[in-house]
Subunit: 423 residues, 2 copies
């Protein structure tokens, strides 16, 4: 819901976090009441966390629809057949399977990714060149049985993934969409507030293309190492940072700078690997039978949420980019005088009527300092304070989470001002 | 996306269904391209299916928010501790667990329901009477290892569930919300189009209340047997249809009629069962420590989707209620003359601009009869046909999926007419 009072909010902020939680993003998100740790790499989204996750998801959805993606939802439970055909049922090939079984004893797996089942499904819907190209995506919980999971939301055992798959007639048609999707990814990261620190990065490819592309966000908390070419706004993953590759890319090592980074997206040319293994074919214009040419395109919304939490945080707590903050405004009533309470209530009503996303700290038994600390910990972009002092000037006090500056604004003007700043 | 052309739609309709699919709802939904069968009780939502499921979900979400529910998202993977405390980790007590394990060997379960983990979480956020009441809900995929699963979407092994949980100070506060939620459920079923055939039904209770309440929808495809009192718009589940209960409810068996029904929702007084097992307490106004009084409230959106598919279907295919249909309008171009194609394209543009949900059958190599058959199979509420014949009268032909009547409407008036009928 876009308006909420602190006294009604399900969660409270906390001073302490689980002693076994070592990652900064999860520590902050737990303290602020966004998530709850079920076990390492497995987190419940509490109401505030779910709002942030949904906002990230919606930005991605809009951009995927814009490039012709059709949303669907595959299943977690997987039978072995299509995975055996591709060779990935084997734990030696894919070592992150969670296994389970039906009462009949039939072995099942929890999907760590979805190339195989989707290729199987598409056999019902792709038979002719007229059926191509097609772009399909989903937001689905993935399960990966990681040996260790110590990075909070940034490496989950159960986590949300947006995975898009492209089905094209040939490499030329594929390559065109690949670049379209790369542009959409850049738009997504810009909208989420990390456009300026996110680089399209050359990484290792497969049988069907020399390289794959990762989107890496510069951050001291990153597990990856990349070499950034600032001028060309691109990077090279350390794993392919060889003299040979540099020559191939016509880059000079002295122009690149090594930095820590978090992989926030990747796009990959699958080629005919899965269409061949599973028999996904189409009849071409000339009557010949051809294999469908595929690509995969991933973004992890929950990992992004962890990155945003950890990267932008300061010593006082979370700092959300405006586009994904659970609320735009944190409204604080200072003191319990009738004038303050009635002015605050009225302002809350007006902000609500304008459709602004407001969290109203209406607690009576809490000191102003504690309210300010919560406003900071929660990372809401704009704090609005109503007090005896501000009311004496018929005003309120505005403070951005990212600034120390306090601004006094007439109470009659504040609603319009806030409305304009977010619309 | 609210507009789509058949030539771009991911899926095609099919003549045949998997030979092992015995349920009518899944057979129809598979043929029409709404779902794909991964295994018995486990279905992928294809784009059309996901739209329907999302519409059902959104109706439920709006009504849950309206009564103060806060949405969150718990995890699928579950450790044993809280379930051992309640006694439900044991397969003899809860026989539908899917089990899996971490690489460390630690046993995990896939959540079949979420009372235990949520009670555990709420210990961080409920300490005082001031924190109560609280209402929490989620839309989460549930996993239940059913021995058999032959009813398509109506009894899944992996399926979507809306589960709300209430946390109250005492039974009086609980009872009030229980009735509020019952009213919200009635609204939901009315909005989804089954209000007139859905009955609040007395069913067996637990330690904390004599009865629980089910919402049962009369349907020949139902697995349950209920006794309906038409005058009082209520019913009694066959499992509690005893003389003793009838006396208690002040009902006379001769006023009730036995009917087959599908359980589409249930509300249940949990009392202090879980708060006692897991230690969820609060300090009351008088300083005494009390157990939180709980309730649970479930609706299965995917089961509802299966019920709607099966219940309203006729010999030609699906018949969706308007509120959940994937598109409102099925626009058919009959013939390939330039006049027809250009008038159809123009109409599609105009409907799109008005924000109407339109599926435009723009296929060139398909006979009109096949297009009409697909319009029926897909169950879209209104079919609009543009042909040489209708254009001769500057008109289009309108037909409701639920009627045989054909109406000729001026092409200049049809957009407004359709817009008004859905807004």
């Amino acid at each position: 819901m876009v308006q909420m009072k602190t006294t009604q909010l399900l969660t409270k902020t906390r001073k302490e976090v689980p002693s076994d939680e070592t990652s900064k993003n999860a520590q902050l998100l737990i303290r602020a009441g966004y998530i709850y740790k079920e076990m390492a790499g497995v987190y419940t989204m509490l109401p505030l966390g779910l709002i942030v996750l949904n906002k990230i998801e919606q930005i991605i959805r809009e951009e995927m629809n814009e490039i012709g993606g059709q949303e669907m939802l595959l299943t977690t439970l997987q039978q072995s057949n299509s995975w055996e055909a591709s060779g990935r049922w084997d734990d030696k090939v894919m070592d992150v399977w969670f296994r389970t079984q039906l009462k009949s004893g039939a072995q099942l797996g929890l999907a760590p990714t979805h190339e195989e089942p989707l290729t199987e499904i598409m056999k019902n819907h792709i038979t002719s060149y007229k059926d191509l190209p097609k772009y399909v995506y989903q937001f689905q919980t993935k399960f990966r049985n990681e040996l260790r999971s110590k990075s909070g939301l940034m490496r989950g055992r159960e986590f949300l993934m947006k995975d898009l798959y492209s089905f094209s007639k040939d490499k030329a048609e594929h390559d065109k969409f690949y670049e379209t999707c790369a542009s959409a990814y850049s738009k997504i990261f810009a909208r989420i507030g990390i456009g300026d620190i996110t680089y399209r990065t050359f990484a290792s490819g497969g049988s069907f293309s020399k390289y794959s592309d990762e989107f890496q966000t510069i951050s001291p908390v990153g597990e990856d190492s990349i070499h950034v070419h600032q001028g060309q706004k691109l990077a090279v993953n350390d794993e392919v940072y060889t003299d040979e590759v540099m020559e191939d890319l016509k880059l000079d090592k002295k122009d690149l700078k090594e930095q820590k980074a978090v992989e926030v997206g990747n796009i990959f040319t699958l080629g005919t690997k899965y269409s061949e293994a599973l028999g996904l074919k189409f009849v071409d214009e000339d009557g010949s039978e051809q294999l469908v040419f595929m690509g995969s395109y991933g973004i992890g919304p929950s990992r992004l949420m962890g990155l945003l939490a950890e990267h932008f945080a300061d010593e006082s707590g979370l700092v959300w980019p405006e586009s994904v903050a659970p609320y735009q405004v944190y409204l604080v009533a200072v003191g319990q005088s009738e004038a303050v309470v009635s002015a605050s209530n009225k302002l809350y009503e007006e902000l609500t009527q304008k459709g602004l996303e407001v969290l109203y700290d209406d607690r009576e038994d809490v000191r102003p300092g504690e309210k300010f600390a919560d406003a900071d910990l929660l990372g809401i972009p704009t704090r609005v304070v109503v007090s005896e002092k501000t009311l004496a000037e018929a005003s309120v006090e505005l403070k951005k989470r990212t600034s120390k500056e306090l601004n006094i604004v007439k109470i009659t003007e504040v609603v319009d001002l806030l409305y304009k700043s977010v619309n």
